[in-house]
Symmetry: C2
Subunit: 143 residues, 2 copies
């Protein structure tokens, strides 16, 4: 498929995909004889995974560290993959998973904080008294 369809499927713009390739964020895409990129399903899946790494806060630099050894799976299946790059990927992914778990905890805490603030403002607008809101006003949250 061409870059336009790949863009549609990944939710990235064609511009962005070219920019990513130039920046070494993923292995070079195969070209047709006139130099046009021909995306396979697996390329698109790779892009989608990268985009998800991105969405969950990984920097492009870290992503290119992750992808620098190219498409590992094909070589794994061919039995010609050294273990070192695989270990490298593994440690990047494990670090990222730890970050995600922390993010998950933070989000939960913050949802609670926001919910408290919401119920405080709500009770003000409704003119009702609200125990939670009163607690909230104890000076730790003068906003």
């Amino acid at each position: 498929m061409n870059i336009k369809e790949a863009a549609e499927r990944t939710g990235l713009s064609a511009h962005t995909i070219r920019f990513y390739e130039r920046s070494g964020l993923f292995p070079k895409i195969k070209r047709s004889k006139n130099g046009i990129r021909e995306f396979r399903d697996s390329d698109v899946n790779f892009l989608i995974f990268m985009a998800t790494l991105k969405k969950t806060g990984m920097s492009l630099e870290d992503i290119s560290e992750f992808t620098k050894d190219g498409c590992i799976l094909e070589r794994l299946e061919a039995g010609e993959m050294p273990k070192e790059p695989v270990r490298n990927r593994l440690s990047i992914l494990m670090d990222h998973r730890n970050k995600l778990l922390e993010q998950q905890r933070n989000i939960e805490l913050f949802i609670n904080a926001v919910t408290q603030k919401i119920s405080f403002y709500e009770s003000y607008i409704e003119g009702t008294d609200n125990k939670e809101a009163e607690d909230f006003k104890d000076g730790r949250n003068k906003v």
Copy 2:
């Protein structure tokens, strides 16, 4: 307290705090007679709340929309706060909470995806067979 201590307590740099004030991200901090910012605990709490909004993905622009009516609580207590700005804050917070809930769902999905990839790479390194890893290799994840 001075800006240095406020920086330590909030985890922001003094530079960043000045930059935030300049950008209208929070109500101007009171100054001593020689123009030095004097932070109260409530200012620091406000900053921490803002920093958390930031950490959970709110843009500075949206944060300043949130804070543009200044320190509401003081005026609420004095009974001199119109309801409109409170409604405005409420709707910003509710939008943000929705985003957070979505983020929470996405992170969970992605933790699962990463965990699968991790167990695939692990089983490769250990040279063991792994049903999950085999499923994973079905062509949807050629990475």
